[in-house]
Symmetry: C2
């Protein structure tokens, strides 16, 4: 197993170097790049659909979609008006830099303000792979339960903002927001948590405000 671990370290380190190069290229373009991570079904694609529709007149956006199989998510965000490239990893449990580079060939980057990279639905493996992003946006749905930060600390450590999604489920679950927030704060005291529901629209304005600030910071 030692040999395997060493090799895995090398793969990581080679990915980190490639990610650093990609980050420099994104910086030259003043392009905000966000790496969206979550469990399967936490609402990443739904959030992108709403973001596409509300911010269409304000920013030029594009999406890279990561899934084991199917083009369903790329189709959904295209129907919401955004250019999208689908990556199928086969059995792969996360995206890496070479996959992102190949996807970039299919996108027009000139004048783009925001590139969303929707990672494979997985709360473990994506956290180990830098994609050259400016920020990791971690989604966790109320339906998953309030105990997730403690059980999946790596992903929460990597996050720059947490979106607590599907808050419309709060009345019909035992989810305790205070427990969730305390768990997050124990891992990373300064990590902001934005509760929201795409179904009701509650909290989406705070997400849009976060995006506007991030774009502005990147342009200056």
């Amino acid at each position: 197993m030692a040999k395997r671990l060493d090799l895995q370290k090398n793969v990581l380190s080679s990915n980190d170097q490639a990610a650093a190069q990609l980050r420099r290229e994104f910086a030259t373009r003043r392009l905000l790049v966000l790496n969206l991570m979550s469990s399967p079904g936490s609402g990443k694609t739904t959030l992108l659909e709403h973001t596409a529709r509300v911010l269409a007149g304000e920013f030029k956006m594009a999406v890279i979609e990561g899934d084991l199989q199917t083009d369903r998510d790329a189709d959904r965000v295209r129907r919401a008006g955004l250019p999208a490239v689908q990556i199928n990893t086969g059995g792969g449990c996360h995206l890496d830099v070479p996959m992102v580079r190949r996807a970039l060939d299919g996108l027009a980057l000139d004048g783009l303000d925001i590139l969303f990279i929707e990672n494979v639905g997985n709360l473990v493996c994506p956290a180990a792979f830098d994609l050259g992003e400016d920020a990791v946006v971690l989604l966790a749905s109320v339906a998953e339960g309030d105990d997730k930060p403690g059980k999946y600390p790596t992903a929460f450590h990597r996050a720059d903002v947490v979106l607590l999604t599907k808050t419309d489920f709060l009345p019909v679950t035992e989810f305790q927001v205070n427990l969730f927030l305390a768990d997050v704060a124990k891992l990373k005291a300064e990590l902001p948590v934005l509760p929201l529901s795409c179904r009701t629209g509650d909290g989406l304005d705070a997400w849009f405000a976060w995006l506007r600030r991030a774009v502005a910071a990147k342009k200056n």
Copy 2:
């Protein structure tokens, strides 16, 4: 990358051999072993709590709990009356046979009827690792959406039974049961799907009946 893939194949093949040996040992004991897989927060631990309480007088059961961090799930099933051993994988995205073997040292196997192995919450990696189980029980929650079978085919291919959990969310989501069932059938025509809700109790009897049949088949 070719070298890495070869090494990964070796790791898998070595795990498969160790799993075959473990399966023979379980068979000698006529012990039914179930490998529970799902996304984070699909309700694996909640299902075990309900199963523990209802079937306590009928079967002798024990649980191996897999998580990146925390002893929360083992604590929960112990409070429901079952002996449980917690495995913490650190950053590891799935259980493997050596982890299960170490956990077995902490359990009394004599006279045991059912051993539940609750895998790490992850719909990708656990599907690649045989743990010597008799059957893979795959949970997918209504809250995750009806598009999961097509997007995570490996896990559904490995499954022997699918539990569609949290059906009490059906009235407040756009989940279409027919789409989910059609997606499952496309992947594996004969795969049974049991819809259930631990909150309302709906459908739990079908799960208990499935368990009784599986124990009986193992004893004969």
